[in-house]
């Protein structure tokens, strides 16, 4: 049989496909009869240097929504809300984040916007505050008096750093010198300053500090310069995942034998493969795997972390990183705020969260903080885990007391951050 394909058939076929696609897109995907929809939005870097965090963050965000919907959605009074997720790739650029905020709020009508941190967060605040839409950042230093709807309820970067240094100093008192390395941006600068302060408090001398440019191609000279100072500790600070990966590999190849630490240690199984289990053993960082037995205890405010971890790894094999759960942790707190408020309205949810005696931070008891420093009481400060690689697996070795450390050191850490320009005078 001879099959002919002329212009008329082509146009007819194309129109059918287009109509079908449009109809399919127009249909709601998760709502059933009688159920309401609440939309949440993620503005996150899906491309660019920070994509190694942004992509897993969105994957976890979407998974949290799927798990919540499977469990029956969010009960608000007599209503049940199914959660729908919108996403915008801001490439970690302020201008694109603002475009995304206008799209998510103006077009998609989301009730919560979750962002990574720094300039993209700051850029969207005037618009989101005007629209009275809740948003969340991982960096507490993004808070300001003008961003009354911005919450720092998941991560509290960089304030959660010092307990990990304290733990290391307590457990390995023989370590006396450190070299700290990070990229030169608004994540690296406050992080290095906070690490340096914590090391100083523990009588560990910072013998080398390097803020390398984002365009760095070759990390061999960066590591050579650090190792030339013979540090006992190599601290990779809050370096982006790809940078961290390359620096750790360089440290291995250039023969470093000492202690390593950082804020995140993303894709550590791959790093073990690239170096060795022995080389990575004892690495100290801040982000646990969610199958950690400590997270199964009653004080953890995250529904079924083990299930979340298993489903995540099933859906995205090998993709688990520090950010796989941080956006989801924000959603978890927001959900409790929605349930307490009996509304998905941002103003109501904010008021309900602020009124709680024990705000439900993922790692247990916490309190609102920040009014004296940022003009808003929107940072949730409590505990944060200190994690160590043991026998090739991340293990929580201590729940660091961030609130306690901050209570004793607030003045000095804030002064330190002011000195590096990360807080207003």
């Amino acid at each position: 049989m001879k099959v002919t394909f002329d212009r008329r058939k082509f146009l007819a076929g194309s129109a059918s496909i287009l109509a079908g696609t449009t109809f399919g897109i127009a249909l709601p995907t998760s709502a059933r009869a009688g159920e309401k929809i609440v939309k949440v939005g993620a503005i996150t870097p899906l491309t660019g240097d920070a994509a190694g965090w942004g992509v897993p963050a969105f994957q976890g965000y979407k998974l949290w929504a799927d798990l919540t919907n499977e469990a029956g959605g969010i009960k608000v009074g007599d209503d049940t809300y199914m959660v729908e997720v919108e996403v915008w790739d801001d490439e970690f650029l302020a201008s694109k984040a603002l475009t995304g905020a206008k799209k998510l709020v103006g077009d998609d009508h989301v009730d919560l916007v979750t962002l990574l941190c720094s300039t993209p967060v700051v850029a969207v605040q005037p618009y989101l505050t005007e629209q009275k839409v809740l948003s969340a950042t991982t960096c507490t230093t993004d808070l300001s008096p003008d961003s009354s709807y911005l919450l720092s309820v998941g991560e509290v970067h960089p304030f959660y750093i010092p307990p990990s240094v304290n733990w290391l100093a307590k457990n390995r008192p023989e370590l006396k010198t450190v070299a700290i390395l990070s990229q030169d941006d608004e994540l690296g600068v406050p992080s290095i300053a906070t690490y340096a302060l914590a090391f100083q408090q523990n009588n560990i001398e910072t013998v080398h500090t390097e803020l390398f440019p984002l365009a760095t191609l070759d990390f061999a000279p960066v590591i050579s310069a650090a190792l030339a100072k013979n540090p006992d500790i190599l601290c990779f600070d809050t370096a982006y995942p790809d940078f961290m990966n390359l620096m750790i590999e360089q440290a291995y190849q250039q023969g470093f034998k000492g202690q390593m630490m950082s804020v995140t240690l993303d894709n550590y199984p791959q790093l073990i493969e690239k170096t060795s289990k022995e080389f990575m053993e004892g690495f100290v960082f801040l982000f646990p795997d969610f199958d950690d037995p400590r997270l199964m205890e009653a004080d953890i405010n995250f529904a079924n972390p083990g299930v979340f971890y298993a489903r995540y790894n099933e859906a995205f094999p090998g993709a688990w990183t520090s950010q796989s759960w941080t956006y989801a942790a924000v959603l978890e707190i927001w959900k409790k705020g929605v349930e307490a408020a009996g509304s998905v309205n941002s103003t109501d949810v904010y008021a309900a969260l602020q009124a709680m005696d024990k705000p439900p931070h993922i790692f247990g008891d916490a309190k609102w903080w920040g009014a004296d420093v940022f003009g808003v009481n929107n940072a949730l400060i409590g505990r944060w885990p200190v994690v160590q690689l043991q026998d090739g697996k991340a293990k929580i070795v201590e729940m660091g007391d961030v609130a306690g450390w901050l209570a004793e050191n607030e003045a000095v850490v804030l002064e330190t951050l002011r000195e590096v320009g990360m807080l207003p005078n």
Partner: protein
């Protein structure tokens, strides 16, 4: 301090070899096809992505993956010449704009094919390091030595091709005076195709051997192409030996300043140094003296 100087020298030699490998390809395509190929960095990126996919995802041996990656980059280069650049021969601005378009197409293509965002890990097939001359604090990873060996071998082979073979003479003739070359019966299109094929293969080889050492992402060609353009301008546009010399200057200067002062200052000082060279010698280090 002595160890650090030696270590930095070793690092700079390795960096020089890669920079030269990349820049020479850029010179070659400019000399023969008269195209400022902004997509040359993306040919390097294609080499790295192909290596990652074939070696890390498909499980092929690294050497096989690298050879396939070189082939893929070469084919992409041939495609660019056949479908794009050939039709804009003599129009340098048109060729440049087409190459920018190709740059974007290749970036989107790898995002479409391999996804975006997550790290593309390539476990080095050569994990160990060489203790240089037994010095305790001077090491060079074997993977970096591989970069040096591949770059020097490729550049030596290219030199032989250009200087000792009839194809090389024809390529040089096309670069020196295309009209005269045509009058001698040399097909500009044919030799432009050969030049771009070689150039793309060099970029692909660079991407393949560098894949375990660098951040593999769709934008990875950006910094490399900027460095490459600086090098060929300072070396003297059209001069292969100038590009090699400039690559060595560039890499040594950058590596030493990164090590002893910091990476932030390295970019600034390298630009000032290169600017100084152009002020002293506006044609570049070896401009006019030698062409492809």
């Amino acid at each position: 301090m002595f160890d650090l100087v030696i270590q930095t020298t070793v690092n700079a030699v390795i960096a020089s070899s890669f920079t030269a490998l990349f820049a020479v390809g850029l010179v070659l395509i400019f000399g023969v096809a008269k195209v400022v190929n902004f997509a040359h960095g993306e040919l390097y990126m294609v080499g790295a992505f192909s290596t990652w996919y074939l070696y890390s995802e498909m499980g092929l041996p690294f050497s096989v993956a690298a050879l396939c990656a070189i082939l893929v980059s070469t084919l992409v280069g041939i495609f660019m010449e056949t479908v794009l650049f050939r039709w804009k021969r003599g129009d340098e601005l048109g060729g440049l704009i087409l190459s920018v378009g190709m740059l974007m197409i290749l970036q989107v293509a790898v995002i479409y094919l391999f996804g975006q965002g997550l790290m593309k890990n390539v476990v080095s097939p050569l994990k160990d390091s060489w203790q240089v001359f037994g010095l305790p604090n001077v090491v060079v990873p074997y993977q970096r030595l591989l970069v040096l060996v591949v770059a020097v071998s490729a550049l030596a082979a290219l030199w032989f091709l250009l200087q000792k073979t009839r194809i090389g003479w024809a390529l040089r003739a096309c670069a020196d005076d295309p009209m005269a070359a045509m009058l001698q019966g040399i097909s500009i299109n044919r030799f432009a195709l050969i030049a771009i094929g070689i150039s793309a293969a060099l970029a692909g080889a660079g991407g393949a051997v560098m894949a375990p050492l660098v951040q593999i992402d769709p934008d990875m060609g950006h910094t490399v192409i900027i460095n490459g353009l600086i090098v060929i301008i300072v070396g003297g546009v059209g001069s292969i030996s100038g590009a090699v010399v400039a690559a060595v200057f560039f890499s040594f200067f950058h590596t030493f300043i990164t090590t002893f002062t910091g990476g932030i200052y390295a970019d600034i000082f390298v630009m000032l140094f290169m600017l100084f060279i152009l002020v002293v010698k506006p044609t570049g280090i070896m401009g006019r003296h030698e062409k492809v």
